[in-house]
Symmetry: C2
Subunit: 92 residues, 2 copies
């Protein structure tokens, strides 16, 4: 059985790569969760906005969660980094 | 009559300047709305997280809204910029 994935993690690729991944997931699933940390948080909002504004397929933004994670930075110290998780759903 | 302000706009100042502004507003009002655009969005999440994690005064994150605005950039073109608005409230 293949694993069900409903999450897109935002990294350093061009924005449209994540938009495409999310749209592919939404083709077969009712929701996708767009997750990002730190400096990528603004880009996660961009991806969610592009999907909900530009498509005419009836996608909209659902639940939005923010949080923090402790990460070990390159100097070995623990630092808190903010996180975001944005749900994008099909209109019912 | 003085205008009631319940919003902190995130700009280029050090993060703690916005944390302080928000805490001052929360001293006299039940909620504060932390707003940011574009590259400042991650910093708005940082401010909300610092207030809700670090203080023992019982503040927590409420409604989170994302959106887009059209801005004229320096070359005169209209560009869409993502926005975020994070409500921080007193625990009741």
């Amino acid at each position: 059985m293949s694993e069900v994935r409903d999450t897109v993690f935002i990294g350093k690729k061009p924005l449209m790569a994540y938009v495409t991944s999310a749209l592919i997931q939404l083709a077969t699933m009712p929701t996708v969760r767009i997750k990002a940390r730190g400096l990528s948080i603004g880009r996660a909002v961009d991806v969610a906005q592009i999907i909900s504004r530009k498509t005419e397929a009836g996608y909209f933004v659902g639940e939005i969660l923010i949080g923090s994670e402790s990460l070990e930075s390159q100097d070995g110290k623990l630092r808190n980094v903010s996180t975001i998780e944005i749900e994008v759903k099909k209109q019912e």
